[in-house]
């Protein structure tokens, strides 16, 4: 079930967006629901807090009330980093790139520039992407860590510090966990491939058992592969 949440203060535009969503999903066998809101209200708040299904927000930036679409996006992201957000704007904003990166906005679509096609394309793109909301959650003394599983490449235990190092596509995190402890924080796509290394199978291009390394999708070669664990990952 996918829930579309449209926040737009103009009824005509609301109806238009609803039409686009229906047209986009008419040929797909997907169970979906559309929820319309003129502004931020209690009903919208309830929807934001509900995490029972996948959500796609379509928000107008320039709402005619005290809150703008950006404010609503901020409130969404205080509770939910898994839903996709598409902003509708009436003119080109150069500064949108800051919001795009910081609030993980899927796209900004201008109302008067090929709106229908762009919105249809974005919705299709989101629907066709596998919904993956698994998160690695770790609470440090002064910092909480939330990393989506799809971002994690592999984890390995550093001999010197005796801590687990979590490597993502962009960063490295050091956490105070043992190897087996770390497995409890992860899901089935993560497998032990070395006594000190856990890898995200979805991020691996190639396993070279003879030379003892695995090749990741980003081209990185990691020499932490042991034949002892070949059976556990199904002899890939």
């Amino acid at each position: 079930m996918i829930k579309f949440i449209v926040v737009e203060d103009d009824r005509e535009t609301q109806n238009h967006i609803q039409q686009i969503i229906n047209d986009t999903l008419s040929k797909k066998e997907i169970n979906y629901d559309i929820s319309m809101h003129l502004s931020k209200n209690k009903a919208l708040q309830k929807v934001i807090e509900d995490d029972s299904c996948r959500k796609i927000y379509i928000l107008d930036i320039e709402l005619n009330h005290k809150q703008s679409g950006i404010d609503i996006a901020k409130e969404i992201r205080q509770k939910d980093w898994d839903s996709e957000i598409i902003f509708i704007t009436s003119h080109d904003h150069m500064f949108e790139s800051a919001y795009r990166n910081v609030y993980k906005v899927f796209n900004f679509i201008e109302k008067f520039h090929d709106f229908d096609n762009r919105l249809m394309k974005n919705i299709t793109e989101i629907i066709d992407t596998k919904y993956d909301n698994g998160i690695f959650r770790y609470h440090g003394s002064n910092l909480d860590l939330f990393i989506h599983y799809k971002e994690i490449l592999y984890l390995y235990r550093d001999k010197t510090t005796r801590k687990m190092i979590l490597k993502t596509t962009k960063n490295k995190f050091i956490v105070n966990l043992g190897v087996k402890e770390a497995l409890d924080y992860l899901d089935g796509r993560f497998k032990l491939v070395h006594r000190a290394c856990i890898v995200n199978l979805e991020k691996v291009d190639e396993f070279n058992w003879n030379e003892g390394y695995f090749l990741l999708v980003n081209g990185e070669k990691v020499y932490m592969l042991s034949k002892k664990y070949k059976k556990e990952i199904g002899g890939i």
Binding site: A98, N101, N142, L143, I147, E151, K163, N171, I174
Partner: protein, 419 residues
């Protein structure tokens, strides 16, 4: 004979006080005939008050006479004259009380003539003390600073003077009617403490007023800068259009030069854009922090301000200091991390309610993070001389800091209590 003694003593007392005034204020003396006549007249009147035992009238009239004489002779500002005269009069009475108390311990009965000599003696002592004060630069400076403070006080100043006069009159009356020496001593101590207490209150009121005026100047300067930036933006906008007009009739080389100029004029409006969205009272600090990053690092920044301008201005100094100090520490970290990341994006939101101010900073980053050590002393993702910023904030009991990492975003919330 008594009358002659009283007269000479009275004249001497007035002259001593005039000398004291001159020592304290370092003003030149311009005595007129009218001043001399008034001085003599006042002395006679005081003798009459003394003979009829009208102590209160005598004290009030003496003060009144001194103010008029000082104002006429020294031709200083009225407020300063009044205040300085009252201080001298006050110190004189205090010293009179003390010397009378000491002598009455040694002599069982205080005879009138003896009292006059005591009064004159105490005035001479006071003159010497203030003479010494005037030679000592620090104390002289302190007095001058205090006079500057008094200039800023209006209603409280009047209240202060009336309070002092009433207090001294009451004190003298109680002293005269005191049952024993112990009560007299207590009265003297209470008077000294009350005067000190009131001086401190005046100082605090004045300091607050100076602070408010300083804040108003800063706000005015901020608004002026904003206005100038607006004018500059309009100028640049118009200039760009003019250049485009010229470009349409220029040859290819000139067109290339015009393109360079237009690019140059298009890049620097960030200051104007940002200033409008940062709360007044901290916009200068934030812009100062941003400057090194904006020109060369191409960071994308967005501010969202939901704080009313008066909110920051009404904060107590301690709270304001907390806000600026901790916000700057977080901003330093956020800007440094953001500038090294690929996305180079930073959003800051300012909100407030009745009890707290909240600052949320979300920035992209590209550092390795030790999740368990972050916030501890000397841990830093920068070089070894850093590592005290977050540690310092976490130790501060007046603020609450929440930090999260969500994938490649660093999300920090700083909550500062207004009270």
């Amino acid at each position: 004979m008594d009358i002659v003694v009283y007269y000479i003593s009275g004249i001497l007392s007035f002259i001593e006080i005039l000398i004291l005034y001159k020592i304290l204020t370092k003003k030149s003396v311009k005595i007129k005939l009218a001043d001399i006549i008034y001085l003599n007249f006042s002395t006679i009147l005081i003798i009459i008050f003394t003979s009829y035992n009208l102590v209160v009238f005598k004290m009030v009239y003496a003060l009144f006479t001194l103010i008029i004489l000082n104002y006429s002779i020294f031709q200083d500002k009225l407020k300063k004259t009044i205040f300085t005269t009252i201080i001298i009069w006050l110190l004189g009475i205090l010293l009179d009380l003390i010397t009378a108390f000491i002598c009455s311990l040694l002599f069982t009965k205080l005879i009138p003539n003896y009292a006059i000599y005591l009064q004159t003696l105490s005035t001479i002592v006071l003159t010497l003390i203030l003479f010494l004060i005037s030679k000592h630069n620090k104390l002289g400076t302190m007095y001058n600073n205090f006079i500057k403070v008094i200039k800023n006080v209006k209603f409280s100043f009047i209240l202060f003077n009336l309070f002092l006069i009433a207090l001294m009159i009451l004190d003298i009356w109680c002293y005269i009617n005191a049952a024993n020496y112990f009560i007299q001593l207590i009265l003297i101590i209470i008077t000294i403490l009350l005067i000190l207490y009131f001086l401190i209150i005046i100082y605090i009121i004045s300091t607050k007023k100076i602070l408010n005026e300083t804040i108003n100047y800063i706000i005015y300067n901020g608004k002026y800068i904003q206005k100038e930036y607006d004018n500059l933006s309009v100028f640049k906008h118009d200039l760009k259009n003019e250049l485009l007009t010229v470009k349409s009739v220029a040859n290819s080389q000139a067109q290339e030069l015009i393109d360079i100029l237009i690019d140059e004029y298009s890049t620097n409006d960030y200051v104007n854009n940002y200033m409008k969205n940062i709360p007044e009272g901290i916009n200068g600090t934030i812009m100062q922090k941003l400057q090194p990053y904006l020109v060369n690092n191409n960071i994308k920044i967005k501010f969202d301000n939901k704080i009313k301008n008066e909110t920051i201005n009404r904060l107590k100094p301690r709270v304001y200091r907390n806000l600026c100090k901790n916000m700057c520490l977080l901003l330093d970290n956020a800007l440094e991390a953001c500038s090294k990341s690929k996305e180079k994006s930073l959003c800051i939101t300012f909100t407030d309610d009745s009890e707290i101010i909240k600052i949320e900073i979300i920035n992209t980053y590209n550092n390795d993070v030790d999740v368990d050590n972050i916030g501890y002393s000397r841990y830093s993702t920068k070089n070894s001389n850093h590592g005290l910023g977050l540690f310092s904030i976490l130790r501060n009991k007046d603020v609450i800091l929440n930090s999260e990492i969500i994938d490649n975003l660093f999300y920090t919330t700083l909550i500062i209590k207004k009270i």
